[in-house]
Symmetry: C2
């Protein structure tokens, strides 16, 4: 998962379209992990201002969004109450995330990301290009296909990777 490749294309074990999607997801994850490499807990907890999310909370959020889409696309369901206990604050990135998600080291977040990703890849291996095309009503009542939903998982990760890169510079400066 952490290997770098500048090729979008077939990936062994996946159908052609799923492989292209997986090669994008892999590259994105590589860059996310590169963006946080070497960070200490105090930097992962750094809050730039009262409305800001910490880098740790953004990493947790990335794993939470992926978990949400696993349930939605692989099982056709919402997250259950017990799952929301683990993922809810990270999904919402609200005041409770600022309060609750802190004090963890980088390995804590890396492990979460890796556990979630392992399950995603296991499930995608068992699906095919026709599955990616399947549509269901989604945002604003418009149809979305599974290809879009998994594209969205990594496009949201990239959005937050941009914020992580920005915050990392300020966290380092604040830490002196």
């Amino acid at each position: 998962m952490n290997e770098m490749s500048f090729l979008i294309g077939d990936v062994p074990g996946f159908t052609p379209q799923v492989g292209r999607l997986v090669s994008m997801m892999n590259y994105v994850r590589y860059t996310t992990l590169s963006a946080v490499a070497g960070l200490e807990t105090r930097e992962l907890d750094y809050l730039h201002d009262a409305a800001s999310n910490s880098i740790g909370a953004l990493l947790f959020h990335i794993a939470a969004v992926e978990t949400w889409y696993q349930a939605a696309t692989f099982a056709g369901r919402e997250l259950e109450a017990g799952e929301m206990g683990e993922w809810g604050a990270a999904l919402d990135l609200d005041e409770s995330a600022r309060r609750e998600i802190r004090g963890h080291d980088l390995e804590f977040y890396r492990r979460k990301l890796e556990q979630v990703r392992t399950k995603t890849l296991d499930e995608l291996r068992r699906r095919d290009d026709a599955w990616l095309e399947q549509q269901a009503p989604f945002w604003k009542g418009q149809p979305a296909n599974n290809h879009f939903k998994w594209f969205h998982v990594f496009e949201d990760e990239l959005n937050h990777r941009g914020q992580i890169r920005w915050l990392r510079k300020r966290a380092a400066a604040a830490a002196g």
Copy 2:
């Protein structure tokens, strides 16, 4: 270009893989433009701190990166001196970008983005899935294919869209 769709798939006029790429690029651009809708020049020029880029400079950068990859992948060349006069500061996002890219209204940036995108789509319409697979040496001496390079164009845009969303909230607060 500004229409919203939650479907990744065939796009009329493009080969299958190119169409899937274009549907991702379209969605990303829709979200970028949504993220800046209604901004005034003073918000586009807002600098959060001495190292920060303005939202205007980030929009210019998004157009500049796309221009750079047009030259690289459609013509197999670097940008020429005259082109770097227009795009260089935005590509580098350095001190000169902070100094030079300001005072423009949203329409200025929208027009740049649209002009560049129109050319990209014209060129992609004339290419096919086999072209996407073509490889050449790239970063760190490793091979990259054209599919990766155009994926990278929109993944860089998403990275900065995340920063734009973050900066927009602070620019609005600073403007009172």
